[in-house]
């Protein structure tokens, strides 16, 4: 992430804005990294100008920052704001963030499979469960303690096997909802008996690579990056199973009292322009673009576009790319998994 800003975005920005100097500071991976940014902004709250001009934050933290009034509603002043209509640009795990964020990229979990071993990949959770039963120890995922691709798979399972998945994504929260998950989690416990629990997001890809498993949930960007690095055979494929698997964006945000507000807007405008999204986000990092995909397609050669969208079409991504549940339901799902599936 820091490298992307430092090596890719900063030189471009400094070329067109000779007076500007872009300094990127890494705060660490995951929600913990976003937490640090939030703490810095909270600490500067009383100052007239804050020393962070642009920040990249996770979905969970974006909601908190908007609620605490720490972000500027900058999207209306940025021309690329009109190129984003996705749900993720409006709703961050239950908080309305419209106007405050533009997604930098969208990351998605999908099922990777080895076509040499799987001729007809399952198209839904139901088919997958049946397939796993018929092919014991050939499906692998990393549980919930070893990374987000496993967590996402479990979230998708709950969406698929419980009646009110819409409510989990949009709220309102009701503490009694989890009582209705026993059936779904019992089925998951049974499912786990015929699958392999892998050590981590990378563990699933490793096992796919070595042919120990034939199928498993992965982050799409990791999948393509590993393939490009030669750590995964090029014949591997992806399938986004129904009703859907979650993904998440990271957001460009501008603090409410950023010292260089105008430069910050210009920077985000450049970073979310179709050309930069195509070259940097899609081509270099294999992420899905943060702005709507159709604006990016014209900027890319067919080969790159096909690589990212041939297995999972934009239509599929729109219909089966889900969001993670709102925070209290998210915690309930993980804790219920610990209680019902692991114990």
């Amino acid at each position: 992430m820091v490298d992307y800003i430092k090596d890719f975005l900063a030189p471009r920005f400094e070329k067109t804005n000779p007076k500007a100097v872009v300094k990127a500071v890494g705060t660490g991976p995951g929600d913990g990294g976003s937490q640090k940014i939030a703490e810095k902004l909270q600490a500067q709250k009383g100052n007239a100008a804050w020393d962070v001009d642009v920040a990249v934050v996770h979905q969970k933290m974006a909601g908190d920052l908007v609620r605490e009034g720490l972000l500027a509603p900058y999207v209306r002043d940025v021309s690329t704001g009109r190129l984003v209509t996705s749900e993720a640009s409006k709703n961050a795990l239950g908080t309305n963030v419209q106007g405050y964020v533009i997604p930098m990229f969208q990351s998605q979990i999908a099922i990777a499979y080895n076509p040499a071993l799987v001729k007809n990949p399952p198209k839904s959770y139901e088919e997958l469960a049946a397939w796993a039963k018929a092919n014991p120890k050939k499906f692998g995922y990393n549980g919930i303690k070893g990374g987000m691709s496993g967590v996402g798979f479990v979230v998708g399972w709950v969406y698929a096997n419980t009646p009110d998945s819409e409510k989990l994504m949009k709220g309102p929260y009701d503490a009694n909802t989890k009582a209705k998950w026993d059936g779904a989690l019992g089925k998951l416990k049974d499912f786990n008996r015929s699958v392999v629990i892998t050590p981590g997001n990378a563990g699933t890809l490793d096992m796919l690579n070595r042919g120990e498993i034939a199928m498993g949930p992965v982050w799409v960007d990791m999948f393509y990056t590993w393939m490009a690095d030669g750590k995964l055979p090029p014949n591997m494929r992806l399938q986004l199973i129904g009703p859907g698997l979650p993904g998440q964006p990271m957001y460009y945000v501008i603090p409410a009292k950023a010292a260089n507000m105008e430069a910050a807007k210009k920077f985000v405008e450049m970073a979310t322009s179709p050309a930069v999204q195509a070259e940097g986000i899609v081509k270099k990092f294999n992420w899905y673009p943060g702005i709507d995909a159709q604006h990016v397609k014209s900027q890319l050669d067919d080969k790159t576009w096909n690589k990212l969208f041939v297995d999972v079409t934009p239509q599929e991504l729109a219909s089966k790319g889900k969001v993670f549940p709102i925070k209290p339901y998210f915690d309930d799902i993980l804790e219920s998994y610990e209680r019902k599936v692991l114990n």
Binding site: N142, K145, G146, P199, G200, D206, L334, L342, N343
Partner: protein
């Protein structure tokens, strides 16, 4: 005299301050928060939750570490014994040169290596298949509790072996010679002459290994995704996913109790 006393205090002060700030304060803080409810106030709720969710993991942790410690003891005795009693000077020199390597490898690197070495189609099994010792469909992966034990034993044996071999080397060789003259075999000399004499060193090495292994997060996290898992993984999970320091500290408190029992034995030996 008074000046010397003051100077003494002054000299000790930096070290003492470091211990207080970096060890005693965080330890005390985590012990207190283990008994604190979210809003403040005393509670045993964190422990109730720790036992409700993780009692199996607590037992699993104890079993894994006790088994690892016993295997480390056996391996360390074997290595120390051969270095002391071995008759082939080349083999002794080779072993002496080889056995210390894992000492210099961090746990996280050891875990990463074992992850590719012990996997079902990993380096180890592929070698066996290549040598014609196994068929492809006969292989099994060791990336579960067995992998954790293997990694712990591989990593910690050199440390204990180093202490034990040193202690054995400094023993009076006349006891060994006497036993040999009376016709004792090497195995008998090892277990009836050498091991009893180096027992204090062996136990200290094992206790230190036990405490070290209790604190390792990378090995269980990287080797095995299975459940049950070790307490360190649960602590990390409580904090990263729920921001729940209370239950994590309660688990920490339970692991302090385990290591404190060990430390008590250690201190008893030291004082005697």
């Amino acid at each position: 005299m008074q000046d010397r006393g003051r100077l003494g205090v002054l000299l000790v002060a930096p070290a003492l301050a470091a211990v207080l700030v970096l060890f005693v304060y965080p330890l005390g803080y985590s012990l207190v928060t283990a008994f604190q409810a979210k809003g403040g106030g005393f509670t045993l709720g964190n422990f109730a939750k720790a036992f409700e969710f993780y009692s199996v993991d607590i037992g699993f942790t104890l079993v894994i570490i006790v088994v690892s410690t016993l295997l480390i003891a056996l391996a360390a005795i074997a290595i120390g014994g051969y270095l002391t009693l071995g008759e082939n000077p080349r083999a002794v020199a080779l072993l002496r040169w080889l056995y210390r390597w894992p000492l210099f490898i961090p746990f996280v690197v050891a875990a990463q290596c074992m992850r590719t070495f012990l996997a079902k189609n990993g380096l180890m099994n592929n070698t066996f298949v290549g040598l014609g010792l196994l068929e492809v469909d006969q292989t099994t992966g060791f990336l579960d509790w067995r992998g954790i034990i293997i990694t712990f034993v591989w990593k910690q044996t050199p440390f204990v072996a180093l202490l034990v071999a040193g202690a054995m080397a400094s023993l009076d060789r006349s006891t060994i010679e006497a036993a040999r003259n009376l016709g004792a075999g090497r195995l008998r000399i090892l277990f009836e002459i050498l091991v009893p004499q180096v027992m204090p060193t062996l136990v200290v090495g094992l206790i230190l290994s036990f405490v070290t292994m209790m604190s390792v997060l990378s090995v269980p996290l990287m080797i095995s995704g299975e459940s049950p898992t070790m307490m360190t993984v649960d602590m990390a999970f409580r904090i990263n996913n729920y921001g729940d320091y209370g239950t994590a500290n309660a688990l920490g408190f339970i692991s302090y109790l385990m290591t404190a029992t060990c430390a008590w034995f250690y201190l008893k030996r030291q004082i005697r």
